[in-house]
């Protein structure tokens, strides 16, 4: 269906008239600074200092935290923590940082401990738990039979270390070199570093998966991230992702499409993930800009590019070429920018910095794919298509990182597969033996899933919502970035966008008006000239 026929001419005319009336106000307001809820510099630095001042405990004074703890014995530290914080165990064990399975009723069953699949490292379930457990808030996850009921296996330190020295190894255990007593005596509220040690490294390495999260945020300038920059608002993750009894509010892969949460009773703990929680839904001086909020997410205009901190994010991962050797050894290739274009253990990859997002209608629901799902016939396979359209009142135009991949699947069962990747030579793991046959067979056995014994590769795509790395107001998108035939929203369908869309009716009306005004002006001028001097 062409854009010409998307809506009736009547609505186009209304839109034109609306635009004509709104333009002066828009022109006046563009460039104006959006209203900020915080007027002083680094306001959250003061908030955090106040929180520290109000604290009533000095953990360095507690004898039980002085240890000594045996090398790598994180559970001993946990037991010490639980002597004073006994209810913390139940709270943590109910959280998705522990279960790796979201609580949300729409998303239960779609977590790292389930059959969820992606097109980066594919799945933890193919026997890769030990490697993935470096980012599990627990100790001892080495396979799918991890006991989620043992409170001594909770890892308190990964979220509460304030020294930056804590480090986890395979199985989620502390590195035996970590001085557990020193760290245990300096625990505190979670900082950017605590969250970032895992969330900046999604996809296996810094900046790989998300695009808007990497460890350059720790030293961000305000131009890179107005919120988390120390010279900006100096916020930490938990200022928005508010924790409620150890359940950290978060998207669980899905960001509610800018819904403003309201307290049901005074003092209710609420997340502040939606921009509107602090900025309101009408933060601009211009009514025209504020009206955009109904159909455009704040992030769309205020995050003009992602991966702006200096690190490149992964845009494409082709597993089908992995496993090539040179002189019998694995190897890597880099391009002129130093980006890794090939690695034996990964295959071909594409990386980029300062990437313009893709824009898509999105109502807060991404429909994910499981290893047990039958694949559709459509290629490439969309692993998490976004729901939403112009007609959907909950949907807005959102920015996404669009990631492409090529990953193994079972052409007989028509399902994606979970290869065993992270293991030593001789274990059957792909990164040890570079043999897909063995890696997939072993992986599916470890996952407890059927496998026909045949594999091929299938192209897949994924969407990753962009919501961090918010730029200063002066760097946000201008009208022409979208209201243009070749603008950023050129591919977003289902509605009439002034400046982008054209139709003969509206063009005829517009040019007729221009012609009439020109003719009237000319006639007026001629008459004034001819009758000049007459009273």
């Amino acid at each position: 269906m062409s854009r010409l026929h998307r809506t009736g001419s009547f609505w186009r005319i209304i839109a034109l008239l609306g635009l004509a009336m709104g333009l002066p106000a828009l022109a006046q307001s563009v460039g104006q600074k959006a209203t900020s809820p915080h007027r002083s510099a680094s306001p959250y630095a003061k908030v955090h200092a106040e929180a520290a001042r109000r604290s009533t405990a000095d953990h360095s004074q507690f004898k039980i935290l002085k240890g000594p703890f045996k090398e790598g014995d994180g559970s001993a530290v946990t037991k010490a923590c639980l002597t004073c914080h006994p209810k913390a165990a139940e709270q943590v064990m109910g959280s998705s940082h522990w279960t790796w399975n979201p609580k949300d009723k729409h998303l239960a069953g779609y977590g790292k401990s389930t059959h969820l699949v992606n097109n980066f490292c594919i799945s933890a379930q193919g026997g890769n738990q030990a490697a993935c457990a470096r980012c599990h808030a627990g100790y001892g996850m080495t396979d799918r039979h991890f006991d989620f009921s043992k409170s001594e296996n909770i890892d308190c330190l990964v979220c509460h270390d304030t020294t930056g020295d804590y480090e986890k190894i395979a199985g989620g255990f502390p590195n035996p070199a970590v001085p557990l007593d020193e760290i245990a005596q300096k625990v505190g509220r979670s900082t950017l570093q605590n969250c970032g040690v895992c969330h900046f490294f999604g996809g296996g390495a810094d900046a790989t998966k998300h695009g808007d999260l990497d460890d350059t945020i720790l030293k961000a300038t305000p131009a890179m991230d107005v919120h988390m920059s120390k010279q900006g608002a100096a916020m930490v993750c938990t200022d928005c992702h508010v924790s409620n009894a150890h359940e950290v509010s978060g998207p669980n892969y899905v960001i509610p499409a800018d819904k403003r949460e309201k307290a049901h009773f005074p003092g209710e703990s609420m997340s502040r993930m939606a921009c509107t929680a602090c900025h309101t839904d009408s933060p601009h001086a211009s009514t025209v800009l504020n009206r955009h909020y109904r159909k455009v997410a704040c992030q769309t205009c205020h995050i003009p590019e992602y991966a702006r901190g200096g690190l490149a994010s992964n845009l494409s991962w082709d597993w089908s070429t992995a496993g090539k050797l040179k002189d019998g050894r694995p190897y890597k290739e880099e391009d002129a920018n130093g980006f890794e274009t090939y690695n034996t253990i990964h295959g071909d990859m594409v990386w980029a910095k300062k990437v313009k997002p893709s824009y898509i209608w999105y109502n807060g629901n991404l429909k994910f794919t499981l290893l047990t799902d039958t694949l559709p016939t459509q290629r490439p396979v969309e692993l998490n298509p976004a729901e939403g359209s112009y007609a959907d009142s909950a949907a807005k135009i959102w920015p996404f990182k669009f990631h492409t991949g090529k990953q193994p699947f079972d052409p007989v069962l028509n399902r994606l597969v979970a290869p065993y990747t992270a293991g030593p030579k001789g274990s059957g793991a792909f990164w040890g033996d570079y043999n897909w046959d063995t890696a997939i067979k072993t992986g599916m056995e470890k996952a407890g899933l059927p496998y026909s014994g045949k594999y091929d590769f299938v192209s897949t795509t994924m969407l990753w919502p962009i919501t961090h790395m918010v730029a200063p107001a002066k760097d946000s998108l201008s009208c022409k970035d979208c209201h243009d035939q070749n603008g950023r929203l050129a591919g977003v369908e289902g509605f009439y966008l002034p400046g982008r869309d054209r139709g003969w009716g509206i063009d005829f009306l517009g040019w007729t008006l221009v012609g009439l005004v020109a003719a009237a002006t000319l006639t007026h001028g001629i008459l004034r000239y001819l009758f000049a001097g007459r009273s």
């Binding site: 020295d165 480090e167 190894i169 590195n175 035996p176 070199a177 970590v178 810094d206 050894r329």
Partner: protein, 106 residues
């Protein structure tokens, strides 16, 4: 002949693990390397950035056998001897020409 073969095989079996890896802890060495070395040897740091990939196994071994860093003895300045051995183990095991080259967090 049999005895000679047996001795040769025994020697190979004993020598192989020693050649493949150092005797310290690879895992702990990674941690101490970050704490003791990367505090200066990092991008934007006081000294040239270093990762295990910066040298070959032979080069790392030569550095640690020398036992000195700009004229100072490695131990105790950069930790007790056991920690220095752990760092050496990590760097040698993941050097540029090792079976498992590693960057150590870039």
């Amino acid at each position: 002949m049999r005895i000679r073969t047996l001795i040769a095989c025994t020697l190979i079996l004993v020598a192989l693990p020693a050649a493949a890896e150092e005797k310290g802890s690879d895992t702990k060495g990674k941690y101490y390397f970050k704490k003791s070395c990367k505090s200066c040897h990092a991008d934007g740091g006081a000294a040239k950035a270093l990762t295990p990939l910066s040298k070959t196994q032979a080069q790392w071994k030569k550095f640690f056998e020398g036992g000195k860093h700009k004229g100072d003895a490695l131990s105790p300045k950069f930790g007790p001897p056991a920690q220095i051995l752990d760092i050496k183990t990590f760097l040698v095991n993941h050097a540029s020409d090792s079976p498992q080259p590693e960057t150590c967090g870039g």
